[in-house]
Structures are given as C-alpha cells and as structure tokens.
Point group: C2
Chain length 457, copies 2
C-alpha cells in the first residue's frame, strides 16, 4: 500500500473537505456554556457520522457526566501498527463577540485563511485526520494501520471525563502510538513535531490580617497591611534574576543536553517578531538560557492575578482585611505538581509575616510531558511531515500544558506524537480564530503519509 492514490484522492476532494469543515465549525459546540448543551450533542452526532462514513468497524457514542466522547475503530490491518488518534470537538467561548470580524460560527475564507471558532482548535486539526483516513479507504479500500479514534467534548473545560474513559477502557484503547493534532508549527513552512510540554502547578494564596477593613489614617503605622505581606511573600518567590527562589524547586529539573541546545538554537526564533507579538517595551528571560529554552524547558513562576483593597475610582484610605493572588508555576521534566506544591506551601508558611494568616489553595496541577525522540514513531512522523509539506520537519517543545497528554501516554503506555498544523498567532482562544488553508490541505496529506510511515515501523 502506497499513499499516492490517497494523496490524489485528497487533492481531488479538497474542496469538499473544506466544505465539510465549515459545516462542523458552524455547530456552536461551546462546552463551558450550558446553553450549548444541545449543540454539543449535535456536534458529537456530526463527528459520529463523519467517522461512520469512513467505513469504520465500530463507532460508539460514549455518554459521560458532561459531554459525550465519540469513539471509533477500524481494525482491518491485523498485525500492523495500531494508531490512537485523539481530538476534541468542543470549542472555547466566543466573547468578546464584538471583536470578531465575521460571525464565529460562520466559517469564512479570507486571505488564505479560514476564520471561525474551532477552525484550528481543534475541529480543523482532527477533521483533517478523518479526511486522511477517508482518502485511504476510498482509494485503497483500507488503511495501512489499525485506527482507534477518540474525539472528546471536554478539552476546553478540563477533560474530566477523559481519564475515567481511558482508565476503564485500557484494553479497547491499546495501541502502539498516539497521534494528537492540537498544537502549532513553529512557523509557516516549518512542519513541527512537539515532543515536550511544560506542566503546571496552580495556587491561590490568601492572606488575612485585620478582621475588617481599617482606616489607614487611624491604623496606618501599627498594623501590617495584608497587601504588603502578600508582596513580601511573592517578592521572595523569585530572585533578582527571575529564577524561582523556592528552595528545592530546581532539584528535579532535568538540564538540557548540549545536543538539545544545539538543535534548539537552529530553530527560527525571531526576537523582534516575538517582542512585537508581546507588545512590551522589552523581553526578559532566564540568565544562561535562550528565550526558547526559557519558554519551553525552564520552570516559570507567574502571578496570574492579584487583588486586595480598593480598586475603584478615587482614593479610599483603607488597610484591607485581605489580599489574594493566583500564582502558577510552569513545570518541566521531571518536576511533579504535588512535590512543587509541597515545596511552595512549606516555603510560604516559613516566610509569611506573623501579622497575617495565610491559606494556600491548590487549584490544579498537570505534569510536564517529554517524548522519547529515539522512539521510531518520531522519525516516522518526521518523514511524513517532510513529504506532506516538502520541508524538513523540526522537533520542538511548547511552553503550555496539555495535562491529559501525560495522563494518556501513561495510562495507555504508548508514545505520543503531537503533530500541530496550527500557526502562531492563530487566536486559538481569542476572537478571529483561524486556520491556514494551505496547512489544512498539507496537513491532510501529511496525515495520509503518517499512517503509511507508521505502518513501516
């Protein structure tokens, strides 16, 4: 079985493939909004139909506590590699709606892009795999690999139903390699395989000083202000160079090898463009590392929110009773959220001023992910992308966290290929989300090649 005919089929049907994606995007499957509960069902049905139409042996609507998971399998290649494809049919909310140039649920083409909520995250990216499978089936009558497909509806709200589903169906889901297209290429024309993700440990720190807000004139000078106490604590979470100052937090951090650093240094990171995207007067990153290394491979502590006292117009003279902050730490291999959480709690309890009471709430945690590049699946994926895009594939990491990747690969004990066909700046969680139309087409062809390459492992 060679992919030429499937590629031809995909080329000949590319117009319809795009049309179908538009129909899928038109379903407002916002998983976080209970007003869209019916739409979630409509979208799951659409996905079920799309998988059925490929000619799968089995397609199943798995009910969960929230939104259904669509599962399908085609096991017509006994002895061949088994691929587990993951995607999600739910999308982010669309607010603020007024910033959309065209309606979020009317996919519209402009300048080689398809705009609409979910176009790249993740409807376009999983759908191109379904179209790649269809291309194989229609052109060759079968797939070169066995295929198991999970398209869930809760990725944007924490994938809560996914873990028990994986856990309860280990046997059914057994595979040789997982494929997920829900990430981005480093740059247009640079097909990318993401082999590392940072994890996260997220906390809320609350301080309580006085039992109620106090007049800062009457009490200022003899009462510790909880905002100052909070500032003192947060000020001690990082040192002057921006390194995290929590004792022991770097103990489990795996340092980059010189080979990794060499490879990373060859990747296209344009500081000017990055600064432009950020829009700040200046960048800053960890001493001794490059920006990409800092973004992908080093822990980063950020205050995601802070509040306390008076924030209205004018000048209220108050010493507030409480002050709060949301603090997150991006984790890298081999940091564990629980261990980092313990370190942070111990440290904060140690440094908290005696004039306030502290509460630390652990919000959520996700472990970092690092693929084993020596696994042949990675080189297979590299060859597939090179054939699909006509450019050498690069191996990249991402600074963000996709906690279920680590959970899935560990629960099912398989390597995971993160093949992203998105692009930086595609507004995945913002107004005017888009997918590059060329990437949609070349992604479909790359997926066709991928199944072939994986069958040769």
């Amino acid at each position: 079985m060679f992919p030429e005919k499937a590629i031809l089929y995909a080329e000949e049907n590319s117009g319809r493939f795009l049309q179908e994606l538009k129909e899928l995007v038109a379903i407002p499957s916002v998983s976080s909004d209970s007003n869209h509960l019916g739409d979630m069902k409509v979208c799951a049905d659409f996905v079920e139909g799309a998988i059925s139409s490929i000619g799968f042996d089995r397609v199943q609507m798995v009910e969960t506590k929230k939104h259904p998971i669509v599962y399908g399998e085609w096991l017509g290649a006994p002895g061949a590699t088994t691929v587990l494809l993951y995607g999600h049919y739910d999308v982010q909310p669309v607010d603020p709606l007024e910033l959309w140039e065209t309606p979020p649920f009317e996919a519209s083409e402009r300048d080689g892009r398809l705009y609409g909520r979910g176009t790249v995250d993740d409807k376009g990216q999983f759908y191109l795999h379904l179209k790649a499978m269809e291309s194989w089936m229609r052109s060759a009558g079968s797939l070169p690999v066995n295929m198991k497909v999970i398209i869930e509806g809760e990725e944007e709200v924490g994938s809560e139903s996914l873990e028990p589903f994986l856990d309860e169906n280990r046997e059914m889901l057994a595979a040789d390699v997982a494929v997920i297209s829900d990430t981005s290429m480093i740059k247009k024309g640079w097909p990318s395989i993401t082999y590392g993700l940072r994890g996260i440990a997220y906390f809320q720190i609350g301080l309580k000083g006085p039992s109620q807000d106090l007049h800062s004139g009457i009490f200022g000078g003899a009462v510790k202000n909880p905002i100052h106490a909070l500032i003192e604590i947060i000020g001690q979470l990082k040192d002057k160079n921006g390194r995290i100052a929590i004792p022991g937090v770097y103990d489990d951090v795996v340092e980059l090898t010189s080979e990794e650093r060499r490879v990373m240094a060859e990747l296209p990171f344009e500081e000017e463009l990055f600064l432009d995207e950020v829009g700040a007067p200046k960048l800053s990153w960890e001493d001794g590392y490059t920006p990409l290394e800092s973004l992908w491979c080093r822990p980063a502590l950020d205050v995601n929110g802070i509040w306390g006292g008076f924030s209205g117009e004018g000048s209220k003279t108050v010493i507030p009773s409480e002050a709060h902050a949301k603090v997150s730490i991006r984790l890298v291999p081999n940091q564990e959220p629980d261990i980092v959480g313990n370190l942070l709690e111990t440290y904060v309890q140690e440094i908290v001023p005696p004039e306030v009471e502290v509460t630390i709430q652990r919000m959520h945690g996700g472990r970092p992910f690092l693929g084993d590049l020596s696994n042949p699946a990675f080189s297979a994926a590299g060859r597939a992308l090179e054939k699909g895009f006509g450019a050498k594939a690069v191996y990249i990491r991402e600074g963000g966290s996709i906690p279920f990747v680590r959970n899935m690969t560990e629960t099912l004990d398989l390597p995971c290929l993160l093949l992203g066909f998105g692009l930086p700046g595609e507004n995945a969680h913002a107004p005017n989300e888009w997918i590059d139309l060329e990437n949609y087409a070349l992604g479909t062809q790359s997926a066709i090649h991928l199944y072939h390459e994986l069958s040769l492992m």
Copy 2:
C-alpha cells in the same frame, strides 16, 4: 459672666437637646449621593433655623457649586475673643444598610448611646456647640465671646467649596481661635484635645507590559509580568523594618522631643484592646517608636488597593497586560505632599523595570497639622474640658488627615482647637454609628465652659 447659670440651663434642657439632635439625625443628608440633594437643603435649613433661634445677629445660607454652607455670627461682645466654630451637617453613606441594627436615620437610644448616621460625625458634635451657645444666651442674655459659625455640607466629599469660601471671606471670618469638634477622645473619661493630624499624599501607580493579556504557558519565562514588576516596585517602597525607603522622605520629618514622648507615654494605649479592635494575629510598628508614636507622629506608607490579572473563580493562566496599585503615605510635620510626591515619582521612575511602562497619578494631598501648644487657647480648652468632664484633659494627636484644618488655620491665620467628643469604635464611617449620650451632655457643658475660658485669654 460666669457659666453656672448656663450649665444649669443645659442640664434642665438636656432632654430637649437630645430630642432636637434626633430630629437633625433624621434628615438623610448624604452629600455624596445626588438622590439626597433635597435632603441636603432640608438639613441646611434646619441648621440655619437652629442658629437663628439662638439669637444670632446674622445667619446666612451660602450657596456653593455643591451644597450650601450655613454661616452665622453673633458679635455682641466687642473687644472680647472671637471664636470661629466649624462643623459639617453632611454625613457618610449608610451602605451596607443590612448591617444596621436600627434604621440609620431613626436615631435610637440603646445602652447609653444614641445610634444613627451622623450622630457623632458630625451632627452631634457641632449641635452640642449650638446648644451651649443657646444656654449662654437664654441664661445670661449674651455669649462671653464673639461667635462665628460655619457649618458646611461637603466634609465627607472633600470640602471643595470651603476653601474658596474661606479665601473670599477672610475679613468676615477673622477670629482669634477656631474650634472644631469632629474628632475623638482617646478613651471614655479622658477628655482630649487633638493638636496634631497627619497629612496624606495619595497615588495610583499603573504598569503596562504586554500590549494584551498573554497565555502564561506560551509566554511565561520570557516576558516580564507587570504584577511582578509592581511587586518589585512596591517591595522597594519600604525596608525590612517597615520604614519608608524612598530616598529623602524623612528629611523634613520633625523628630519628637523627649517631652512629647514622655507625655505620650502617659496616655492610655492598651495594646490588647487595640489588637482586639484590629483583629489581626499581631501588631507591628516602627522600630524605636511606641505604637502611639507610630500611629500619630511617624509617616506610614500603605497600599490601599492592588489589582491586576485574573481574580475570578478557578485558574486562568494569564500574564496580564497591566497591574495597578493605590498607594498612600501619611505625612507628619513638616512633610509636604508635593515634595513627597516628587520624591516618590523620581524613585519609582528610577527603579521601574525596563520591561514595563509606568504611570503615576497623584490623587490627592493634604498637609499635616500641628498646633502650637504654647498658645493660651490650648490651656483654656484644657481647663474647660476638665470642668466639663471632671477629669484632666489630655493632649493627643490623630493618625488620620483632615486637610481643611491646615488650610483653614493658614488661610485665616488662627490657632485651632480640635475638641473631640467622639469615642474610639463609634463607627463614624461604618454601620451602627453612635455617640455616647454622657459625652453629648458633658460635651455641651464643656463647650459652655470653653467660651468662658476663651473669653479670659
């Protein structure tokens, strides 16, 4: 003229004096709320009527841009001391209404207290002066001093109309001494003369980093978080001992004399009670000073509010574009708000991290006040309070700021007696405001004595 008959009159009429105060409290003269514009007029009329009924030569309703000032004068003691009494008929808002045990505008007696909005701040306190004047007039046919009375309606909203009124009427308002009853005694049974007030300089500091909120996974590690930048700046505004670290800020601070410290050390400051009122685990004040010295005579920097990023439920992973704080510095003699403002601005501009842009907004300033205790008006007031309360008067300061005191004494060039008949914990700006009924009666008698003592200066 001796005060005995006036005292007798006041004792005999104390029930009516209280009844009239209840009527005054019943008028909801909330100056900040445009819904109460009519009530402000009703209240000013009530005050005008009350002054007229004493038998003053002249009573005048002075229209302003906001709420009228009621002015009255009785100049029937040629050659005698002229007293300028200041008070305000406007009150604070009543929110949160549900915390009031009885309706804020139905003055009600409980446990020797009169509850209601404005009872102590300032209706009860200026009204007892009007009743002291009435007692003199009815019992002796005249006052021992010339009297000029200003009762304004904008104290709770910044006294904006007062300054031009003072400025334009210097001649009319010329007096030998100003009397204001709008403060508190240090403790029940300790009649107090406040001879010092802290000033204030209030700022809003805003930082802008990225041009929009960024995903902390994708950007965390190579972008300076404005919240961290704000924390760094605020962390450098004070040193480890809580002293203000802005260079030059203590240059104009007048150190306490050993005599002042000795007198202050004899005042009743009960740390346990104060801690109880604060409700925090522990107090803290400036090294080398007592709590009272810190509260009254030392500069104090407080963050009155801080905000930035995500403060909702859950865990949004964002590097915010902006972070803000409201910062105030309580000033002591001879600090000037403008100079301190310049020092703060220069310092912040110096220490602001290069990755963010800072804006500093000067919100409002008020100069500190310090009376000259060697002025005979202070000893006269001391004798009057001792006679009124049957206890030795003490000379205290306050940590709060009443900017117009300094403005008034400078504009009109006179000493100012702050004779407070309130008590700590009287909820002046909070629900369930009250005035001690014994203090209302003894305050009236003290005022009767005061005019007499001032006539002897």
